[in-house]
Amino acid sequence: MAEVEASTAASGDDRLRKASGGVLCAFTLLLIGVLAFSIRLFSVVKYESVIHEFDPYFNYRVTQFLSKSGIYEFWNWFDDRTWYPLGRVIGGTVYPGLTLTAGTMWWLLNSINIPLSVETVCVFTAPIFSANASWATYLLTKEAKGHGAGLMAATILAMVPSYISRSVAGSYDNEAVAIFALIFTFYLYVKTLNTGSLFYATLNALSYFYMVCSWGGYTFIINLIPMHVLLCIITGRYSSRLYIAYAPLVVLGTLLAALVPVVGFNAVLTSEHFASFLVFIILHVVALVYFIKGLLTPRLFKVAMTFVLTVGLALCFAAVAILVALVASSPTKGWSGRSLSLLDPTYASKYIPIIASVSEHQPPTWPSYFMDINVLAFLVPAGIISCFLPLSDASSFLVLYLVTSVYFSGVMVRLMLVLAPAACILSGIALSEAFNVLTRSMKFQRPRSDDGLPAAEDIITPGTSSTAATIVKSGNITKEKTENVSKGRPSKKNRKEKEWVGSSPVRPDMEEKLCVLPAEASAMGILFLIILCGLYVVHCVWAAAEAYSAPSIVLTSRSHEGLHVFDDFRESYAWLRHNTEVDDKVASWWDYGYQTTAMANRTVIVDNNTWNNTHIATVGTAMSSPEKAAWEIFNSLDVKYVLVVFGGLIGYPSDDINKFLWMVRIGGGEFPHIKEEDYLRDGNYRVDAQGTPTMLNCLMYKLCYYRFVETDGKGFDRARRYEIGRKHFKLTHFEEVFTTHNWMVRIYKLKPQKNRIRGKLKLKSSSKASSMRKGAGKKNPWQ
């Protein structure tokens, strides 16, 4: 930077101002990182440093395996402690990015003798990557709208509740790392688009590779970027920079993506990736056309165009027809279930109950928008407008990103997470522009003082207004211009210069338009914006502290006696871990599979990786069958213990009785003898006196309510707020072996098969022929 200044022979004052601006910017970024990290520590401070929820336990277990056995063992890991008796190839079915990241961090720390446990590293991975994500947001927004907007957007992203919900300390999930990778990939794409540098294009492909490693959501990138490229081509913004930004990404990115075992050949075979290849072809055609256009005279070009168009269209139709035929021949049309439910929101509920049963795959409600992005929802439209004011490649990309992610978040509540960065960036732009306009108009309302003017002038001078105008008018000329620049200075100075080119176009025409606001109005406006930001901060801190920091394996409730802790899940897992045989199999509904393998270290039948619908349906069928049939199913699966979660005693709503409808639905989907209507009374699942006999006789009911009536004499279920239907019954095929302190988890053991009873034997022998009786008489003289 110093060199730049020296060569341009700027005044010492200017230099100092810029340097202090740079330092201030770096310091602010550091603080933003600290904010992003520390706002996510509420869960550790309020609860404890522990892995949260369900999926993170699996990731934690994989990381433990990685740190213990090394990378090669990890790729070949066949896990026999889950999906018994099928097992699961972990190395080939897991997105390894998160695990490898945390494993590397752990390895680094331990190699310099900092003895942090794997668990600690896993707990703090998400907050660390949130800080990274907010820095990446700064970079991305800076590419589009300059430093101010970048800092604003980074601050907003650092505390957006939607992202906090997935990245509090302990929430060790793919998304925590993936959002950083997503934003960083977009940044590198936009950066390449602005600079046309092959260096950034390569980095972009690597960053995309990291994203592919981390999360299945990488398909969003590989569809969004082609869409943007297409948009650029259609709006006549084709440039060689666009080509450099896109072509290496597709080629390198696809090659790299195919290296990830879980993606493999899907990177070229499934429909999710076809858009990118199509656009790749189109881009080349367009590039060819531009090339030929440069060679030929306009008249000749027209002739060539018509010829190429006719031939090309014919070829295209043929290719498309073949493609369609290929795709249509596969049953799901080449799309995975989750992607299909994105395109057709009603798909999952119609065909795949297992996807629909996950609460985070439901469409969100309006309050959840307000909860997750709060005031950003109102700021986003302003951001879109300011993106259009001078529409650049970068800002058009941001708008496109926002629009697509709004759609996806409307389909699945989980994809709100993808919307959050887009909303933050656009709100950051909006706020930054608004502050810019308001403060500037206040400044210019005043009689021009001596110190106000030079500063403003300073800002205007470097990016001359002509540059801005040309950018807006035609992309063609800009391309040439920047190419000239890049030829001229391929060094670091060059980068600095181009940042000016990229960021400056906003300013000049702003000057002319917006200094008209009256001082009072702009003062009010600033006040209003500050209040709005304040509200946002308050909401975010509240959400981080209260709504999203509960680890969900420990529940707390506050009463007049003080804090009450319900630690039943871990109580039961610890019991299983220490007091059952190592190879015992535990059956439970799939929600608790990951936790059981990670915390109790016991083999489970099904878990949260719902890859085998039939297996889950088998467990669902067993749970909704009468005791004897259920015993037979479980016994055939070699199950020794059955675990149920019961919230009736303390009023914990998300227990197995409330999840029971999915067991029936999924079980009934595979095994037709389970009929949902047998369990329904007036369209409801009820376990009170109105419950159907099938319902009150099924295994789940019995295991949950066994001897429940003896606690209060009435059998009042606090989770559902009524008395249960069938109060006194005995278990014939199962016996209670453990129930936790608050009855939240109950573990039953399958009774061993009975010895043959004498009566039954007699029955058999008497039914046989009389010759048998003779023999028996001889054998036993006392009979």
Binding site: A2, I112, P115, K493, E710, F738, T739, H741
Partner: protein, 477 residues
């Protein structure tokens, strides 16, 4: 037959010779030096999970003998296996000024051992017992794992019955002239006990004796079957790690593997009955444990491999800290659990400088849990990086070796003294010392390393900003 006669004579002679030689080879511990036990009283305390035995021996050295510097105590092989600790004291001085002087006790070599594999322990007297002198000794010993649950498996509603096996008469290498044995049991519920007349029982206490003129190594087995619902908490493995930092903290981490060592639980565990009828349901189970920690402990934590356990309570005063905690679930017979307790202590309470310039840490041996047996105890004392020639001084036999452990940016590693002992009970909670040499300069090693790393980082940044790393030649604009 002719050749057999001389052989048999030879044999006889040989036997006689060996007997004589055994008698004549007067090792200091041989019982032939004529000591007699004038009167003995044995009190067996069965009220807890650990058996405690108090012996009062009045020992007389006859006029014919020589000075006796040792008195022997005998144990059966099984007892010797379960013996955790033996202590002996001798009463000195007359009535009012009576003081009890502790005496060293050592196991005697196997070669000199007595019939039927009985193990002998020798108590060295502070002043030798002269001929025709009499002295009184108190011997105290602790037996672990000596209460055998019978029935071995009980259900939740049954209470726990145990067997205790011992001898009515005192097992001793000497003539015992007069002897009584008292056995105290925890409750009145005594299923059965062996009678060796004269025997009498009053409530929970059974008296055997008085027996007169017992020969050396007399043994008359008794079996007591009684109720004992005390928590049989057994720590199968305890690893205590004490990290000494000269920056002012002693960090202790204790990893426990706990087991209920009583009668195994069988069949159903009903939480309902456990909660509703606590007095009769699961009488032998336990859910509370009490650890006595040093005073002024800070940052105490209690967790296991899957996270924090939120049921603990710390009480501190100026003499001690008491940590009362519950495992995640109540422990029934045969159930296991593991947990970790950690705490920090101020350094000045434990680290001192000896006269020769060495430092020594004064720590407590044993396990802070009350009323538990530790089957396998490992204490690791991690000395600060750069400390030399460590030496542990423990008042009893332990297995010792040195290790090197690494933590927090160590380069050469920290010297670690490892002490191991099996079968540890509360009586082992006595102070022990670890001496080592330490140069305070080493305290600065790690801060200096960090400072230089940060410095290097800045230097690298400055260098990077002043270099043009581009391949192509930069042209002036």
């Amino acid at each position: 037959m002719a050749p057999s006669l001389p052989t048999s004579i030879l044999l006889l002679l040989a036997v006689a010779f060996t007997v004589v030689s055994a008698a004549t080879s007067t090792s200091p511990t041989a019982p032939e030096d004529g000591i007699r036990v004038v009167s003995a009283e044995k009190r067996i305390d069965l009220t807890g999970p650990i058996v405690k035995v108090y012996l009062t021996l009045k020992v007389h050295n006859p006029a014919t003998g020589s000075d006796a510097s040792h008195v022997l105590i005998a144990f059966t092989p099984l007892e010797a296996q379960h013996l955790a600790i033996v202590k002996a004291t001798r009463a000195e001085g007359k009535r009012k000024k009576k003081v009890y002087v502790p005496l060293p006790v050592e196991p005697v070599d196997l070669a000199a051992n007595a019939p039927d594999g009985a193990r002998l322990y020798s108590v060295s007297l502070s002043a030798p017992l002269r001929p025709s002198e009499t002295t009184t000794m108190e011997v105290f010993y602790v037996l672990t794992h000596s209460l055998e649950p019978f029935p071995a498996e009980i259900t939740q509603s049954e209470s726990q019955l145990v067997y205790y096996r011992d001898s009515a008469v005192l097992l001793s290498p000497y003539h015992v002239l007069e002897q009584v044995t008292y056995v105290k049991m925890p409750s009145n519920r005594v299923e059965s006990f062996t009678r060796v007349d004269p025997t009498s029982r009053s409530g929970p206490e059974v008296k055997y004796g008085t027996y007169k003129d017992q020969l050396p190594y007399a043994y008359s087995p008794i079996l007591l079957h009684h109720e004992n619902n005390h928590p049989f908490a057994v720590v199968e493995e305890l690893v205590r790690k004490v990290e000494i930092s000269h920056w002012g903290n002693v960090q202790v981490t204790e990893q426990y593997k706990l087991k209920h060592g009583g009668a195994r639980h069988k069949g159903v565990f009903s939480r309902l009955e456990y909660q509703a009828r606590q007095s009769i349901s699961g009488a032998s189970s336990f859910k509370n444990l009490l650890a006595r920690l040093p005073p002024r402990v800070h940052s105490v934590y209690y967790r296991d491999e899957i996270g924090n356990i939120s049921s603990s309570n710390l009480r501190t005063d100026s003499h001690k800290s008491e940590l009362e905690f519950e495992p995640r679930y109540p422990l029934f017979g045969g159930w296991h659990c593991t947990f970790t307790i950690g705490y920090g202590m101020p350094l000045q309470d434990f680290l001192f400088e000896s006269e020769d310039g060495r430092r020594f840490a004064n720590l407590t041996f044993g396990c802070p849990l009350l009323n538990t047996v530790v089957d396998d105890l490992t204490i690791k004392i991690v000395l600060p990086e750069g400390s030399k020639s460590p030496q542990a001084v423990v008042p009893f036999l332990t297995e010792q070796h040195l290790e090197t452990s690494y933590s927090y940016l160590d380069v050469v590693g920290r010297t670690t003294v490892v002490l191991k002992k099996k079968n540890v009970v509360g009586e082992h909670n006595v102070p022990f010392q670890v001496y080592y040499e330490f140069n305070p300069v080493f305290m600065l090693a790690e801060p200096l390393m960090l400072i230089s790393a940060v410095l290097l980082f800045f230097v690298a940044c400055i260098a990077y900003l002043h270099m043009d790393l581009s391949i192509g030649k930069s042209q002036a604009s």
